[in-house]
Structures are given as C-alpha cells and as structure tokens.
C-alpha cells in the first residue's frame, strides 16, 4: 500500500498562496506575485501527476480493480457522537483524473495569465483569487464526504463570483457576477436539501459508505417513500439540482454566457474546464447511488442533458460574440456528459456511458480550455469580442491559428483527435440505451461541427478586415500554454480510459463502434463543409440563410428569450405577488415588534439606573436583600 498522505499538500499549498498573495500581494508587486502563484501551481501539478502515476500504475490491483483510498482524514467538527464532519482526501479513479484536469488546466491558465493580464490593475488580486479557486476546486474534487464537497462547492462558487466580477468598475461584470452567484446559489439550495435528506436517511456523509455497491447505506432508509418515489430518489434529484446550477444545464444555464464578462483566462479555467463540470463530477461521484436506488433520477439527468445540449448548440449557431459561442458550446458539451451518465449502467460494459462521460470530461477540458485561451489571444490582438470585427487572422496569428484549428477538429469529432474518441463512446452508449436520445445527440454532433467551424472560418479566413493596427501574435507566456493544450487536445484520445476510469474500478473491453463512428464522422464533416461554404469567403450567403429561417433565427439569436422569461417571472410575479407582501409584513409586523422590544428595553434601562447609585451602603443593602430574597424563595416558596 502506498502512503498518499502527502496529498493534503494539494490543498495546503494553494491556500497558503491565497493568503500570501491576498495579504502581502501589494507588497510583493505584480511580477513576484504572478511568479509565486504560478510556481505554487507548478508544484501542485507535479504532485498531481505523481499521485496519478502511483495510483494508476503503482498500486497492486490483484484483479480487484481500483479501490477508493482515504489518503488523509481528520475530524473537523465532532458535533455529537455519531455526527461528525471530516476534512480529508479521497483518491479514486475519477478524483485522480480530476486532479490531473484541474491542476494541468489551472497551471496553463496561470502561465497564460502572466502574459494576458500584464499591466492590469489588480494583477496580484487576480492571482490570489486564482489560488483560492484552485484550492476550492481541488478540495471539491478530493472530498471524501458530501459535506466537505458542499463546503468547497460553495467556495468554488465564491471564487467564481470574485473572478467574474474582477473588473468591478464595469457594471456589466458586476451584474454578471451577481447573476452567476445568485443562480447557482439558488440551485445549491436544492443540493443542500438533497444532502439533508440523504444523510438523514442513510446516517452518513461518507462517499465510500454511500456508494458501496452492496448498498448498506441505502438499506438503512428502509424503503421510505414520498409521493411514489423513494426518499433516495428525491434526495438524488435535489442533489442533481445543485449540479444543474453549477454545470449550467437547462433551465439554470442563464448565468454561463454572462459569466464571460470575466477575464478570458478565468473563462477558460472556471467556465470551461473545471468548475462547470463539477455537476457532472457530482453525479459521477454518487453514480452507484443513482444506478442502484434512483433510476428515475438518472432518466431526468439523461433528458435534461440531451435537451440542454441541443438547445445550446442551436443558440451557438447564431451568436457573434466568440466567447459566448464558446460558452454555449460548453453547455452543449456538458449536456453530452450528463446524457452519457444518464444512459449508463453499473459495472463492466454496462458502465460504458460512465466511462465515456469521464473520458469526454477529460478531453473536453483540454480542447475547451485551448479554445478559450485561443480566443483570449485573438481578443488580445484585435481588441474586440465580436467575430464580425475579425477575419483573415491566420496570417497574423499563426500559432493561435494552428492550435485553434486543432481544438476545433477535436471538438467536431474528426478522427484521431481526442474529441472523436470520447464523443464516439458517448454516442455508442446512447445508441445502446435509447435510440431517441442518440438521434438528438447525433444532430447535435452535426451542429457542433457547424458552429465551431463557423467560428473558425469567420475568424481566420473570411473577409479581409482592416485593423487599426496590425494584429500581432501573443507573447511566449501565452503561446506555450496553447501549444501544450493543443498536444492534449490532439493526443489524449489515446488514453485507455476503459482500463482506468470505470464505474466499478474494473477494466473492461471496449472498441470503436464503427456503426456509430462512421455516421458521426460523416455528419461532422458535413457540418464543417456547410460552414466552409458559408463562411470561408466573404459572401451574403449567411444572411440569406438567416432571413430564410427568420423567426427561428431570431429566437435562437435571442437565446429563446430565456433571460426575459426569468425577468418576467421574478419581477412581474415573484416580486409583486410574493416579495411585496412579505416586505410589508417585515416592515410593519416584524420590525414593529422589534422596535417595541427595543423601546421597552430602553425605557426599562433608563428607569432602573437609580440602582447604581455609587453609594456603598446601598450596595450592601441590595446585597443582603438579595440573600434574603433567595432564602425566601428557596426555603419558603419553592420548598
């Protein structure tokens, strides 16, 4: 058995960095702060790779597959004898995989930010927040119990809030950060309720106990039901609600596009690769519970995932802000992962969907972070977010161009790139389980290829735009992460996930399903071809297509009016018919009572001030009276 207790440093280092940079950042100066934060991340990345290597290849398996290991655990709060909250580190295939994802992407983003954020006001603050985020995300990933996960889940939300609102002088950024926080916080309410129900019935917070396939925790519920569904199913649906919020699934997706107001490296780290997949991770973490005790919840997950991916893909085809296209694309891809979990079974080949989901999470982190960082480099060069201001950039930004192309090929599912393998597994899992969902995802695959290449062609090809000053390639600190991530986006498809990250820890055989792969490649290529025809040269073809489907285009362009719907519900219905009466009650009844108490307190305290006269005789008198009072009370009255 290898001792993994050093893995606690994964949490301690970024926490220390946060305090050092947060408290002493302005004394260290921008240069030193950036370097310090980045070198901290370098150590964490190294640690993560060491842990991953020794976990996957260093532990003897004896044909039992990968076991979950509690690498570190301390009791933090012992509330009563059988209720305690621990803080610790849990290592199992998915958490180790996430360690790699989080640390690698975070490290790349740190390096990238050294160049991208240069000269910005609050440079040290930015790195302090990045450290806080890394700390929270790693704590979430390695949480051995659901309560720790919840704590770090909220911490992640806070760091996301702080980073989206980084440019706090910009009203839109402030609004976006508030929106992101409130929407996800609302969803987390569901998560909390889910945790309470779950732990109330199963008497444990521990993931290992909860997810034991023999089901001792679930047996404790004694088959309690509520409105026809078992309590476990209810709790799992509520827990999933938290995941819906964090992972920007329909209908809680509205915060993600606005979150693009944050600095681009933040979008790459938080809103593409790591935090937004926390919902997927949460479901995967509790996956055995879902499979064993609440298949209904899994159905919901599958359908919500499929719908979100289609919904987002349609919107992505119409947006012109490149970061928003990527945001919707993220939502769509996370929909894929959710769907894959929803159609999966447990153990062996049944768990194909689980494996595919984790696989896609991994490859997606690589190519989506790459896309965002590439978009950052483009915005850095052109000083605009809109693809209408771009065109023909391939000559000016050669490295960005090549890496961006690799990412697009990967996400479009072109063979031999990473996205091809993971997406193929997802489609195969959907095909085996549910033909309808497969058809939806098949269509989304075509749309994905289309909107990604629409983006690619209109940025790097298309019309020759006149720029105020010639765009130039980003500095080395920005291009090196691009190249490294491009390698990831191209090559990580060859990692044998079916041997490493599976639902029950045992390897299983899985091959490329040519019956699924060939059609999906065809529709991908079709999407690319259409995009090429429409956007590779300057023409009025896109406008003609848009006007042909005017109504549909307008709806999709306005994101199906989801924001307006939310505003209508909150402002017109909730504020007017619920909040205002509550406010009246609060102002008049609650405040009135409080004011009355306060007045009584003030008056009494004024009246009794005479007791404190300063005269020692009186003090002695009161003293003796007190004694006599107690004597009367105890000896005569209460006897």
């Amino acid at each position: 058995m290898i001792n993994f207790s050093y893995s606690i440093w994964l949490l301690l280092i970024p926490l220390m960095m946060f305090f050092i940079l947060g408290l002493a950042g302005h004394k260290l100066g921008p240069r030193l702060s950036g370097l310090l934060g980045t070198s901290g991340l370098a150590i964490i990345t190294m640690l993560s790779f060491i842990i991953a290597y020794s976990y996957f290849f260093g532990t003897p398996k004896n044909g039992e597959g990968f076991k979950a290991i509690i690498a570190y655990n301390i009791t933090w709060l012992q509330l009563i004898d059988n209720l305690h909250i621990d803080i610790g580190v849990l290592l199992d295939p998915i958490s180790v995989m996430m360690l790699i994802v989080v640390s690698t992407v975070s490290f790349m983003v740190h390096i990238y930010s050294l160049g991208y954020m240069k000269g910005e006001r609050g440079y040290e603050r930015f790195f302090a927040f990045l450290s806080l985020f890394t700390f929270s995300m790693l704590g979430l990933v390695v949480a051995p119990n659901i309560f720790q996960m919840y704590i770090f889940w909220e911490l992640v939300g806070i760091s996301s809030y702080l980073l989206i609102g980084f440019y706090y002088q910009k009203p839109s950024a402030v609004a976006a950060s508030k929106k992101a926080f409130i929407v996800t916080r609302f969803a987390d309410l569901g998560f909390l309720i889910g945790i309470l129900i779950l732990s109330f019935y199963t008497k444990t917070f521990d993931f290992i106990t909860l997810t034991d396939p023999s089901g001792p925790a679930i047996a404790k519920t004694g088959g309690a039901t509520f409105m026809g569904l078992s309590v476990i199913t209810w709790s799992m649906i509520f827990v999933y609600m938290g995941g819906v919020g964090k992972s920007a699934m329909f209908p809680f997706h509205i915060w993600l596009p606005d979150a693009m107001e944050g600095p681009t490296p933040v979008s790459a780290l938080i809103h593409a690769a790591t935090m937004v997949v926390a919902g997927v991770y949460l479901v995967a973490r509790l996956f055995p519970v879902y499979v064993m005790a609440s298949p209904q919840a899994l159905h919901i997950i599958a359908y919500v995932g499929a719908f979100s991916s289609l919904f987002a893909a349609v919107i992505a085809c119409t947006q012109t802000d490149i970061k928003r296209v990527l945001a919707y694309s993220t939502m769509s891809q996370i929909g894929y992962m959710m769907l894959a979990l929803g159609v999966s079974g447990y153990g062996g080949h049944n768990g194909l969907g689980f494996m595919a989901s984790m696989f896609h999470l991994f490859t997606h982190a690589m190519f989506k972070a790459l896309l965002f960082l590439g978009a950052g480099a483009i915005i850095h060069a052109v000083h605009s977010n809109f693809m209408t201001d771009m065109g023909g950039l391939r000559k000016y930004l050669p490295i960005t161009h090549i890496t961006f192309l690799i990412a697009c090929l990967s996400i479009a599912g072109v063979p031999l790139f990473a996205g091809f393998f993971s997406k193929d597994e997802i489609l195969a899992a959907a095909f085996e389980h549910n033909k309808f969902l497969f058809a939806v995802e098949y269509a989304v695959a075509g749309l994905t290829a289309f909107y990604m290449f629409r983006l690619y062609f209109s940025i790097f090809w298309g019309k020759e735009t006149q720029y105020h000053h010639t765009p130039h390639e980003a500095p080395l600190t920005m291009t090196i992460p691009l190249i490294i991530l491009a390698l990831g986006a191209a090559l990580t498809g060859f990692i044998p996930f079916n041997k490493l990250v599976t639902s029950d820890g045992l390897p299983f055989e899985s091959h490329l399903d040519w019956g699924v792969a060939v059609p999906s490649v065809i529709i991908g290529l079709l999407g690319i071809t259409v995009a090429w025809a429409m956007y590779s040269k300057s023409s009025n073809l896109p406008d003609r297509v848009a006007s042909a489907f005017r109504l549909g285009y307008k709806w999709a362009y306005n994101k199906f009016y989801m924001d307006e719907l939310y505003l209508f519900i909150t402002k017109k219905i909730i504020f007017r018919y619920i909040s205002e009466p509550v406010a009246w009650f609060d102002r008049h009844i609650v405040d009135g009572t409080m004011n009355a108490i306060a007045t009584v307190t003030q008056v009494t305290s004024f009246r009794i001030r005479k007791f404190q006269s300063g005269q020692i005789q009186q003090y002695a008198f009161v003293y003796i009276s007190g004694v006599i009072f107690l004597v009367i009370l105890l000896v005569y009255i209460w006897r």
């Binding site: 305290s605 003293y623 107690l630 009370l633």
Partner: protein, 473 residues
C-alpha cells in the same frame, strides 16, 4: 513531603517563589534600572506558566485539603495564560513615571493573588477554600487602589474591600451552618452526608452569595461597575477575567461535588439569578458612556450566560464553561488590550472618544471589532462556539425557557457591542484619537488575543481535551 508532593503543588510553590524573587529584586536591584524588573518578572512568570503545562499525576496532599486533578491544573493553566497576557499588556502603563516606583509591588500583588486562586481551585476542604479566597481578594483591592493619587482608584479599592468583607462574612456564615449541621468541612465527606435540610439550604444560599459577589451575579454585582471604572485598566481586565474565572471554576467544582443532593434548589437559584444577571447586565450596559464601565456590565451579562453551562450539571456543561472561559479570556483581554493602548496613549476612556477610530488606528479598531464580535457570539469567531456549547448544554437538560431568554439577551447585547463598532467605523469625529504606534509588548499581547479568538473556535481538539477532564453529576 517528598519530591513527588512538590510536583503536585508546583504551580503554587513556583508562584510563591516568583513573588519572593521579585521582592528580592526590589530590594537588591539597581534603583536606576528599576524598569528592567518588568521584563525580569514577565520572564519568570512565563517560566512558571510553562512549568504548569508539564503533565503530571493526579493526587492530594495534607490529608485531602489540597487536591490536584487534570481539570484543576488545566484551570490554573488557563488563568496563568490570561495573567501572562495582562502582564504583557501592563508594560506601557508600568513604564509611566508615576508607577515606576512600584513596579515590583504590582507583580508581587498579582502573583500573590494568583497563589490564592490556585489554592482555592485546588482546595478539598472549606477552610482551605476560604483561605485561598481571601488571599485572592485582598491583594486585588490593593491593586484596584494602585493609582492612589486618583480619587476614583482609591474609591474603587475601598469599595472592593468593604463589599468583599461583607461577602466573606456571609460566606463564612454559610460555611459555619454547613459545619454545624454535619460536623464536616471536607468536600468529599460532605457529599456523603449532605441531606438537604433547611439549615443546609440556608448554608448553601450564603455560600452562593459569597461566590456570586466574586462572579458578580445580580443582585450581588453592584460593586462591579464602580470598581471597574475606578481601577486602572489592567486591573479591571484582571478583575473581569481572572478573578471571575477563578471563582467560577471553584464554584462549579464545589457545586458538583458538595451539593449534588440539593441540585433542585441550586438549579432554581441559578435559573433566577442567571436570568436577572443577563438581563440587568445588558440593560445597564446599553446606557454606559465610559468604555470600562460598559465592559463591566457586559462582563456581568457574560457571567449570566456562563451560568447556563453550570445549571445542566452535566459533563457537557462543565466542558462548555471551561471552554467559554478560554474564549472569554482572549476576547475580553483583546478588548481591554485596545482600551489599555488607547488609554495609555491619550487617556481617553469614553465611547464617544472612539468615534472615527478606524480612520486613525485601523488595526486597533479591527482588533476591538473582532473581540466584540467574539463577546457577542458572532460566527465564525470563538465566541460563537463558546455560546453555542453553553446554550446546548442547558438545552440538553431541558432548560428551554432559560435558553430562550439567553438568546434574547444575546440579541440585546449585539446592539450595544455594535454601537461601539459603529462608533469606530461610521461615526464622524472632529477630534479623533490621534494616530499612534503601540509598543511591541502591547502589539504582542493583542496578537495573542486575536490568534486565540480564531484558533479556539476552529480547533475542536481544545474542546475534546477539556471534555475528557470534565465531569457532571
């Protein structure tokens, strides 16, 4: 006595030795370098504190008159740490020219009263207890009158000694009744024969009144405000934290060991007095202008909360009381530390003088805020956990009404604690406290308090440790 026995009462013996050493230093020290006695005494005292921390066996001496258990040693250690902080905080004040002459006097008095407290906590016999109590009280009166050139200080001293002699009389009267009905004074023996007759209950009430004077429980509290206001700030903090803590510690031990038979009587007593204490303390605190007087009343209501931990007579209750004392020491000494610093630098002691303090002295204001938050019980600082455990201990035994009153009182207390915070951060001031830099001992003392306020709350190990030593009925 062999060496083992020396080890048992090492805290008392070392403290006595320390007092003698400082006395000798007073005589033989070069008069021109009197000031360095401060460092000398503080170093000696830290050694004594450290020696107290060494783990040792339980045992008893003098046929059971003196007892030493893990809990008692822990209580003494807590007091030692508190005194150490106070000594560090006194540095600036002692350096003043008017106090220079009597530096060693200050230390000797403090050490002596601490010896008294230690004997009191370790007593297993009412006479020993009484001797300790007197030894712990009389030097404090001298300390309260330390600034004898000030009328208020002299007044504080004389009031303290008068009321304390009254309460000692009452206490002795109570002990004599207990002796008269049982013929015994050993705690252990008494617990066996105590039957709970009327005369014994009377004895208990008189004993209670004597203790209530030390803990300043309403209606035995009237001396508190005048003495706290008049005494020098450091003595006020000593009175409000150390004296009160020592009395609480022995009070809870005696209650649980001698009086379990009449548990219903003393639970009623505590119920009534704790409601009175919390409420009256709060009502008076609202009206105070002088910050020391303000903290005097706040500390009265704090004593009321602590009674909630005692009333349940369970292990959780005793744990929470000891735990709360730790929290209270750090929080109250943090607040008094800031007051000392400002009083030394400017001589200002009114709440109005704190208006706009944040503008000129942000660090002091933040420390003060933290300390007040802890006293008010706002999470996540230690005071919250302390109050939570106290209330939980009472609720566990079904005293819901009392807990409700206590919660209401915390809300009232929040109001006046926040008034001070508001004064520092929001109120405008034409003539604020000037910007000044405290010396290193003051800052060091405050830093310990701030750390304590945070760490005590987060480290569950402290609570667990106390729990293992505590006991209930």
């Amino acid at each position: 006595m062999n060496l083992q026995d020396f080890l048992l009462m090492r805290q008392e013996l070392l403290l006595t030795l320390a007092a003698i050493i400082v006395l000798a230093a007073e005589i033989f020290w070069n008069p021109a370098k009197k000031k360095s006695v401060i460092f000398f005494a503080i170093i000696i005292f830290s050694l004594v504190t450290a020696a107290g921390m060494i783990p040792s066996e339980d045992g008893y001496l003098f046929g059971g008159m003196y007892i030493s258990t893990g809990l008692m040693r822990l209580m003494k250690n807590i007091l030692d740490i508190g005194v150490l902080i106070i000594l560090v905080q006194s540095y600036t004040w002692l350096m003043k020219p008017e106090n220079e002459e009597r530096i060693s006097e200050y230390f000797i008095l403090i050490f002596t009263t601490l010896v008294g407290m230690d004997f009191m906590i370790s007593s297993g016999h009412f006479l020993m207890f009484y001797l300790g109590l007197e030894l712990a009280t009389i030097p404090v009166a001298a300390l309260a009158a330390f600034e004898r050139y000030k009328n208020k200080s002299a007044e504080a001293g004389i009031k303290l000694i008068l009321i304390s002699s009254l309460s000692s009389g009452v206490l002795l009267f109570g002990i004599s009744m207990i002796y008269g009905t049982s013929g015994l004074l050993y705690f252990y023996d008494l617990s066996k024969v105590f039957a709970g007759g009327s005369l014994q209950i009377l004895g208990f009430i008189f004993f209670f009144a004597g203790m209530a004077f030390k803990i300043s429980i309403v209606p035995f509290h009237l001396w508190t405000a005048d003495v706290y206001e008049g005494a020098p700030v450091n003595i006020t903090s000593f009175l409000s934290v150390i004296s009160k803590g020592a009395a609480l510690f022995i009070f809870i031990i005696v209650l649980y060991t001698v009086f379990p038979v009449i548990i219903e009587s003393w639970q009623k007593t505590i119920l009534v007095t704790s409601i009175l204490t919390m409420t009256i303390g709060n009502l008076f605190a609202i009206r105070q202008q002088n910050i020391k007087r303000f903290l005097a009343f706040s500390s009265i209501s704090q004593a009321g909360y602590i009674l909630l931990g005692i009333i349940g007579a369970n292990q959780a209750g005793m744990t929470s009381v000891v735990y709360y004392m730790i929290v209270y020491i750090f929080s109250n000494l943090g607040a008094f530390g800031v007051i000392t610093a400002i009083s030394n630098a400017t001589g200002k002691e009114n709440i109005d003088d704190y208006n706009g303090l944040y503008q000129t002295n942000p660090k002091l204001s933040l420390t003060m805020t933290l300390a007040l938050f802890s006293l008010a019980g706002i999470p996540p600082v230690a005071g919250f956990f302390g109050k939570f455990f106290l209330f939980a201990a009472a609720a566990e035994k079904g005293f819901y009404f009392l807990v409700l009153i206590a919660v209401l009182n915390t809300i009232i207390s929040l109001y006046y604690y926040l008034l001070v915070v508001k004064a520092m951060f929001i109120n405008k001031n034409e003539n604020p406290v000037m910007k000044f830099k405290s010396d290193i001992p003051t800052r060091f003392g405050l830093m310990i308090c701030v750390l304590g306020i945070f760490l005590t709350g987060f480290a569950s190990i402290i609570y667990e440790y106390i729990k293992n030593l505590s006991f209930g009925i």
